[in-house]
Symmetry: D2
Subunit: 299 residues, 4 copies
């Protein structure tokens, strides 16, 4: 299939690479052109603007945040300007549901389709075509882009017709991960301080009731204190947490566990940990248990 | 092996039944004799006191709480009184680490061995020999009772020499479950209020990052609001949460997520939900989001 | 002094009335003209636009929120357009520090002065000239408007040169009040459920360690459950809480007590309490203690 | 009046001294006799046991905790053993309501009266007869000891007939103080990080809405970071917080703000701050905002 691809960060490049490998024709655009060049070597065409990429009729976008999606979607060089009537914009970024709602209206007014298809997974998973995709949009539009989503993901979940729902589900999924990180952080601080072998504890968890990727991945990260290089940087986690809390506020849903994570993240940022993996916020629980304080001459 | 078994509640009966079925010789005791009679029909002998059951040389106990373990372990009819020198008491209940520490000392003074081997799993899992066992104690003692533990559990985890560690790990494991329940409760309240298909959301979680028993079991319970009959009653969850927080206090480890769960549980008990499954505390998140209020004429 | 006054809600009208009574010449503007007419009868002139009011050289604004201040300050009919070079805009509303920062820059570019002077107090206090004023701005500008502030307030506090500081202090002050409300709510729920005379408890507090207006006012409101008519509506409290949390986020300061209040407010809004006084959020603590549930047939 | 006095710590000595100065005849007892000797020089008689002190017919006790009150009240040398039938035991310590309930029953069975009269105030206030007293007990008993309470306190509050109510009110009062400390800690961390003059902020609070002793005292302590010597040691604050949470648990009243304080206190204890004033737990908010981290080479 001929498809535009806007946004070639670590995730976007990997995803576009998977499409190329599967034989799709990719017209790529990135704000900083160097990354587009790299993809050209793998067989992509390079577009001069998001609009040009969108002329393919189906265009995927994978950008950093709400500001970036508006930048590439609106304006005379934006996706809307280039996408033909009846064309589909598949947004795979993690965005505020409210922003997604605005994009839906914008494309509808231009007789275009909009599908939200945010993904779960890190760049390695993207490169291995192992992403999980949460998609929502009008059935015909979904049907049309399904082969692309199935190429990039190991599994695609249909959340219905409203793209805002997919956006919210993605935020809720990231919240679930943050809750698991906090729980692991507290439990490890407790058993560790008591002298329990933390590795044995973690093994018990992840081979029984918590035998799931979220616990295996982050349990290992916490056990080893391996926060660099980051798989997902703390400020990105802060952003997703903020979007979730904002969604809760709009819907009037209190989310005390998300509020707890918020305060952990801010405490971590205040400690200068902004370049680390977001799981680093679980270190606050360890510090509050006194870990590492002796080394600072405070114990 | 000839083995005493003290405490024949739903869990204990199932576990003792598994031992019988595997060919072990079980001498059983229960505070209310009716349950021991039921087990007699399945081949057990019935002891007149915990001391008598303990004379087998290896005795397992599975009782409701810290008060009950002291009742069956101490005194002239207690396990200590009957267990031969060099005998092993394997405590499989969920107990405070401090209580376990006391039992260790008590048995050591009587030249007896004490092994803590609390289990994860509900009565159905116990009956199917699918428990997970977290054990700790002196290596020779562990080695001696290993066949019994492996008969009752699908997997046994060795937490080292200190029985208190196994006790703490059990509490920490239950805390992890409660954290997952709270996270599910908040996420379901949020996406549900937004109109997302909650079943689809849950399916996405449990088939991807959270493909683990804790999420599958409790996700289903929350989705269906199926809190009766209870798999694990709320007051028992309250007790384990309290033991965890007390352990945190003794070790000076703040546990804000466990504190949040504590307040949820109390709010649920105040609503008269004491006979329900402990996952019912996740309903507080739903009520705080306004669910079910219209029906009460308050919306 | 000749002074413009923009924004004649309950607070603004009372404050402008105090200025008139003290002999100042007031040129008033309000978005809905009826309120300006009411003030005309008390001696004010009525301006056709914020710009016209600002031509007085000193203009006070007292509007609902960040959106409203931008509406009256910017544009060709706005305060900036009418204020002479060297004139002073005194903003008395509760605003985000970031918004105040923007106003400072906007006026500076127009060679105008900007003073932030948010106030503590309800409309009755405003009418009685009993407000407390937290002001910040350049010393000469503050000096110039001091007589006006002292006319309206019983006490003026100088927070220095940076108007953003006054804005933040106002938000922090409202946070302190919300913390007192939550503390009162929890304590009253506890002692009340135990059967303690809540009035005697409150008297003890407010005549000893907590003999302060915040506790007397809100203690009485909670004791009597008198949330209507509201002195300060819940959605306004929600807004100030959000602005505080946003300030905390920008500064990377975790505020768990403010997060707790946030979740209480959302739970109260979900219960349909949006028209009540903001102290109503303390009722969540009472409901979580089981108060009022029997009446709903749930006890 | 002839009165026994049991427990001569910093508080008890000051209180007994006030009674002596007012002309009462005091028969004093303390576990470590040196303190009793000091009081003898001020005119007291020294008893050989709590029982002997209790023979005066009215006996006041002021001890450290629940364990200590049982030690001095029970047993053959205890208050109960010495107090004549119809005599009154006035307990002024901060105790768990459940413990007070037990004392009520114990004294009732011995035909003795029990009055709970816990006090608010630090040793300086005790020495200056400026305590606030929260008392509860049978009217005749209260009437009989009223002159003593009024000698020691600047104000006495009658909480009714049930001594447990006075005990709970005392815990709730300390909780209110801890809530104010946390609120001050968060607010000061926020405005301080923004560059606001924290002294000016605090002055604004304590001269307006928060013009109360709790805010003036602890505001000053926090502003100056003056946690040593302690007015009230952190472990004592931890104990009162625990008693409050336990009371909440028995009554099934969630207390999330008290839970937050709990976690703050544990984090402070983990940092080795056990010898400081309990207000030191507000430093956790400051640390989480990044204060003091640069000095540790982490900023």
């Amino acid at each position: 299939m001929r498809v535009g691809f806007v946004g070639l960060g670590a995730m976007g490049s990997a995803m576009a690479g998977v499409l190329l490998k599967a034989g799709h024709e990719v017209i790529a655009w990135n704000r900083t052109p160097a990354r587009a060049q790299a993809l050209r070597e793998r067989g992509a065409s390079v577009a001069g603007s998001p609009a040009e990429a969108a002329r393919a009729g189906v265009v995927l976008s994978m950008v950093a945040d709400d500001g970036a999606i508006l930048e590439v979607a609106e304006g005379k060089d934006g996706i809307r300007a280039g996408l033909p009537s009846g064309g589909v914009h598949v947004s795979m970024s993690t965005l505020a549901p409210a922003t997604v709602g605005g994009l839906v209206r914008m494309h509808r007014e231009a007789d275009q389709e909009f599908v939200a298809a945010p993904v779960f997974g890190r760049p390695e998973a993207a490169a291995a075509a192992k992403l999980f995709v949460a998609c929502a949009g009008r059935p015909e539009a979904l049907e049309r882009v399904r082969p692309l989503l199935e190429t990039m993901g190991q599994r695609t979940f249909n959340l219905g017709e409203d793209p805002e729902h997919a956006a919210l589900v993605k935020l809720a999924g990231n919240f679930m991960i943050s809750a698991a990180i906090e729980a692991l952080g507290e439990a490890l601080a407790l058993v560790g301080k008591a002298g329990v072998d933390r590795r044995a504890f973690l093994e018990l968890l992840t081979e029984t009731l918590f035998s799931a990727p979220a616990y295996r991945t982050y349990g290992q990260v916490l056990l080893e204190g391996r926060f660099s290089p980051p798989g997902f940087r703390l400020p990105l986690g802060a952003k997703d947490n903020r979007l979730l809390l904002e969604a809760g506020e709009r819907l009037r849903v209190p989310l005390p566990l998300a509020s707890l994570v918020r305060d952990r993240i801010l405490a971590a940022l205040s400690r200068g940990w902004g370049e680390r993996d977001w799981a680093t916020f679980a270190r606050i629980a360890a510090e509050d248990a006194g870990e590492g304080l002796a080394a600072q001459g405070r114990g």
